[in-house]
Each structure stands twice: as structure tokens, then as C-alpha cells.
Symmetry: C2
Subunit: 353 residues, 2 copies
């Protein structure tokens, strides 16, 4: 099991550091894992002017899975588009063809109070959002800013082909089969032809999954329903752009995005694993960031890329135990619990393994 | 004051009926108002095969303002795209060039319990979302579904020109000047060139409004912040597509979308006024729909198209009085209040005028 480790920017190195320590603890118990670290994002721009250097790409290509921290920071916002840290992220997703982005929104009972929603609305919340990650308006051509009729015009192309929709639909149906067997596909078919095709193809694919109850929802309504009654959902599947918005809204329902991991998988189960939160430059280097989302991303890696459910369960149970014991990083701290730093949180998870 | 009245489908005729009765009550008090009714949506398709007949367009062109109910229903979903009720809505927006869509999200204290969010998160909520309504991927060309390399491909074009962004930005800044003087512009400039131009032009326009505090937020973060802490916002401005999603999420924060009106204005203040909720085919014809969003849309019409703040205030105060008196339609009913139908609610507002 070769894992490429890409700490990135901001709190990235700190939180990835703890996740790697968890991997090393499992290695001592016999997990055959090797890691190799490489640069991405602003750190890579600083070192060699490119947010995704060839060397990094090569290391991730050789690896069986990639663990990523986070990218970006205010100092890079002034750079030209091609050098911004986010471009490194978008390019690695595309290069590795990790088209299926799994973003669970789970409410941990111990952290229920952190949600801005009423407890009865979110208690027990467990949604899986499946977001297409390497197509849509993120990558569509033509795109750009140019002068037409004497004024600037900015344009992008939302585009999906049948085969792109088909593979993400299969991915979502398979996940629904392993969960509550309910899949809600989100589109804007009443306005956008690209998503009319999306709906048509999802319906075609559904014929192969007769056990899964398929429903469709318009994206504006989906945004409302996530606020109104999120527990109506089991698995949701949608395109890259809508998925970006809806998955962030869904994760915020839990009130603790410092807890949420993500997996981005290619057709063979090779994947890129990262916390859903950002690089939090304001608290970088202070040792106070929450490493749990990254540690839980390692659990997703073991489950989805290496078929190691037992070890994945061990990590997830260790995290639950640590939460039950009352330890909290600053982002999830509440009166009556014990505030700890990044390193102590990592220590606690390793001890609980 | 010539008002074109377009009841539309589902509960449209019932709720518009009450709003027109409110207008008639004001007419008895001296408001110089004339109304003319016309077909739109499914009702127009049934009558003449076109969701926006020429006759309707002509009537709305002659009018000083348009009052619309709602369009759509399951029986029309099987029609070809050009005949669907939603096309009538999109076409009238474009034909009247009502580019500035104002969607307030206000929490009525009496209805606070209906929100799925904790009271402290939403009490006193009063956001104005300004959504560009006649551009973006809704209308961008090229668009369609075609076969390329042996498979179907669906595509749409997100496009904004400098002048389109400039006029909606001015509209939003002017509204911010009349409110809390804080404007948050929402884009996805880290990925989409169309919204990079959006941000650039909004910043240019801001030079003319030095008193307004301008901020920028990425759309995924905006969706999160609306859930986490919506009261941080005063006025938000964004494009048609993001505005569709965010304004629906924002209105659901209040828990009572049956209460929320909207205004869509052209450059001269002529406008299209409609409730933000849909045609609710499931309860159509039963006399139970909530007419308050439509009645409040009349208040917005008086304020924005006719500069009649006094009458607008009268309507808004009447609605508040009725709520305070405990009357509720089924959608906002709670134990301890009195459930009434559409007509009784209209009667109560007229009595409270
Ligand atoms: C950083 C940005 C390009 C990225 C995206 O929009 O995909 C992020 O928001 C995410 O969701 O991973
Ligand atoms: C009915 C539909 C075309 C419309 C839109 O997407 O604009 C609606 O959702 C709205 O927000 O008014």
C-alpha cells in the first residue's frame, strides 16, 4: 500500500501529520503501508512556481492512494489563475480521474449542540453526497474572458456526456445499495439541457438497480429540503457545480465541518482522500487545528481504496471513543469538555486504536 | 396604475384572487388602479398551446406592473420543453427585461417556531437577496443536447457581460444604501471566469458607493454561511443560477415560504411581482393556500413600481396584525392558533387594512 502524502498549505501539514501518525500506528500492527510526501498548492508554488509540480504528479501516479491536507491562503490570491493553489487541486483531480467524490454529512451525537439546526431536525443525520468531480462547468470549454462588441464578457461551459453521467450514476447506485437503498438525483432539468441529459441517463442506469428507490429533485428545491428536513435523504448524486454548493450546505448542517472526511475515487477504486474543510490560514501553525476529518479520511481510504474495513472501523471507533471521553479541539469545544491541541488529539486517537 | 394580473396554475388563481381583492380595497380608498387578467403557464398551454401567448405579452407590455401567481403542474411535465409552464415564466422575465430580482428572507416573530433552525440563529432575520434574473446560464447560448463522437452530450453556457453585471450591481448597491449598507457579492471566481468578471465589475461599481461595505464570498461558502449564521448578511447579490439556489435556501431558513414575496424590476422600476413559492398542485382548488406571500408581493409592487410606500406599509402592517391576531393558513398553522382558509385570510387582511 503506497500512499502519496500531500500536506499542502495552512493547517494542512499539522493535520496530515496526525493522520500519518495514525497510519504508522496501524503499520506497527502489521498494515503494509509506505508513505511518500510531496508538494501541492501554495507550498509547491513557493518551492517551484507550480501548484502541481510534475514530480508530485508522478508520485501520486505511482501511489495506490493519495492523502491530501488542504490548499490555499490569502498570499496566493493575487497570483495569476494558473498558479493559484486551487488549480493544483483541480488539476490533480483531473489527472487522477477521480470522478466520484463521496462526501458524508454525519452528525456525531456528542457534537449535536454545535449544529445551527434544531436537534430533532438533525439528530442521527447520515447523508452521503456523491458529487461528480472531474466534469461539468469546472472543466468545460470554451471558457474565458474576452472583449465582444466593445465590452468584456466572461463565459464558461456546463457540459456532460452520457458516459460521464453513466459512470457517476453507477457509482452512486452502488453506494446506495450498500446503504439505505434510496438515491436522490439533483438537477435543474427545467432550465438546463445539460442536466436534462443528466436526468435521462440516471433514469436509464436505474434499470440496473431495481432495488434502489430513485427520486429526482431540482437543485433549488434540494437546497431548501436540506435546510427543512435533511433526514429525508440517504444518498444524493449530482454534478460538480451543484455538488460543490449542496455538499457544503449539507456538511454545515452538522455544525462541525472539522469532523468530515471525503473520498474521491477513480474507476478502479484508487482515490484522493481529504478533509472537506479548508486550509484555515488564520490558525495555521498554532497547533490548535482539528485533525479528526483528516484521520477519518484515512479511514475512508482504507475502506474504499484498500478494502480494509476492519482497520477503517478501528479508526472510526477510536474517534468516537475520543469524542465520548470529552476531548475537543477548539473548533468543536463546548463548556464541560476538555480543550486539546492538534497533537494531543492525534495522541488520543492513537491511544484509543 | 395599470396592473396585468397573471394567475397561472395550481393555487395561483386562489392566492392572486385575494391579492386582487386587497388592491380593490385600496382602490375604494382612492388608489387609481386598474387590473387586466391574462393567461400564463399551464393554463395558457391548455387554452392555446403556448405558455406565454402573444396576447398576454401585449397586456403585460401595456401594463405598469405585473402580478403573477405561480406556474406549473405535473400534467405539463411531459410536454416538450418549449411548451412547459416554466418556459412562460422565463420568457416573460426576459421579454420585460426584469433583470433585478429582489427576494427578501424575513422571519416573522410569530412564525419563528416554524424554522428548522434554532431560534437564536434566525430571530430577527432580515436578508435581501438580489438575484440577476435575465442572464447567466439560464439564457446563455450555445445550449442543447446533441450527439458527439457517438454519444449524447448536454451543454449550456454561463455568460455575463460587463454591462449586465454593472446594472445588477448598481441595483444591489442602491438597495444596500436604503438598508444596512452592507453588500455581499457571491461568485465562484476561483473556478469560473464568468464569475471572475462578475467580481471585477462589482468592485469597479463599488467605487460609486463608498458608504457601502462590500464583501465577496464564494458560492459554496455562502451556502454554508446561510446555514451557520444567516444574520451576518444584509444584502446579497449574485447571478441567476447561484441566486436560484441561495435564495431558496435563504427563504427556507424562515420556515414559512408561504409568507415571502418577490419583485423583479427593469431599469425603470417596472416590475413583475410574485410569491416565491410554487403552484402547489396538491392543494390547488381546496381554498387552503396561504395568500399572504402574494398579498405582500402587492406591497412590494406599490413600493418599488409605484413609489407608494404609505399603501405598501398599510398592507404589510395589516399582515402583521392578522398574524398577531392568531389567524393561520394550514402551512403556518401551529397548536394554539386559529386555522383559516385562503378567503378568510384575505378577508382578515382587508379588514385590518
Ligand atoms: C477549492 C475549490 C476549487 C474546490 C471546489 O470548488 O471543488 C472546493 O470548494 C471543494 O469543494 O473541494
Ligand atoms: C421555475 C423555475 C424556472 C424558476 C427559476 O429557476 O428561476 C424558479 O425556480 C424561480 O426561482 O423562480
Amino acid at each position: 500500500m503506497k500512499i502519496a502524502v500531500l500536506p499542502g498549505d495552512g493547517i494542512g501539514p499539522e493535520i496530515v501529520g496526525e493522520a500519518v501518525r495514525v497510519l504508522e500506528a496501524l503499520k506497527r500492527d502489521g498494515l503494509p503501508v509506505e508513505t511518500e510526501t510531496a508538494l501541492i498548492g501554495g507550498a509547491a508554488v513557493d518551492a517551484c512556481g507550480d501548484p502541481l509540480p510534475d514530480a508530485t504528479l508522478e508520485i501520486t501516479r505511482q501511489a495506490d492512494a493519495v492523502l491530501l491536507g488542504a490548499v490555499g491562503g490569502p498570499k496566493y490570491d493575487v497570483l495569476p489563475r494558473e498558479q493559484r493553489p486551487e488549480r493544483g487541486l483541480l488539476r490533480i483531480r483531473k489527472a487522477l480521474n477521480v470522478f466520484s467524490n463521496l462526501r458524508p454529512a454525519i452528525l456525531y451525537p456528542e457534537l449535536a449542540a454545535a449544529s445551527s439546526l434544531k436537534p430533532e431536525i438533525v439528530s442521527g443525520l447520515d447523508i452521503m453526497i456523491v458529487r461528480e468531480l472531474v466534469g461539468d462547468i469546472y472543466f468545460g470549454e470554451p471558457r474565458g474572458i474576452e472583449v465582444r462588441n466593445g465590452e468584456r464578457v466572461g463565459f464558461n461551459t456546463m457540459i456532460y456526456s452520457e458516459s460521464e453521467i453513466r459512470r457517476i450514476a453507477h457509482s452512486a447506485f452502488r453506494i446506495a445499495m450498500k446503504r439505505g437503498k434510496r438515491l436522490c438525483s439533483v438537477d435543474k432539468m427545467n432550465v438546463l439541457e445539460a442536466t436534462q441529459l443528466w436526468r435521462d441517463v440516471v433514469i436509464e442506469v436505474s434499470a440496473e438497480y431495481p432495488e434502489v428507490e430513485l427520486s429526482h429533485m431540482l437543485v433549488d428545491n434540494a437546497a431548501m429540503q436540506l435546510v427543512r428536513n435533511p433526514k429525508q435523504f440517504d444518498v444524493m448524486v449530482t454534478g460538480n457545480m451543484f455538488g460543490d454548493i449542496l455538499s457544503d450546505a449539507a456538511s454545515m448542517l452538522t455544525g462541525s465541518i472539522g469532523m468530515l472526511p471525503s473520498a474521491s475515487l477513480d474507476a478502479n477504486g484508487k482515490g484522493l482522500f481529504e478533509p472537506i474543510h479548508g486550509s484555515a490560514p488564520d490558525i495555521a501553525g498554532k497547533g490548535v487545528a482539528n485533525p479528526l476529518a483528516t484521520i477519518l479520511s484515512v479511514a475512508m481510504m482504507l475502506r474504499y481504496s484498500f478494502d480494509r474495513s476492519a482497520e477503517a472501523d478501528r479508526i472510526e471507533n477510536a474517534v468516537k471513543k475520543v469524542l465520548a471521553s470529552g476531548l475537543r479541539t477548539a473548533d468543536i469545544y463546548q463548556p464541560g469538555t476538555e480543550k486539546v491541541g492538534t497533537r494531543q488529539m492525534g495522541d488520543a486517537v492513537i491511544a484509543a486504536l
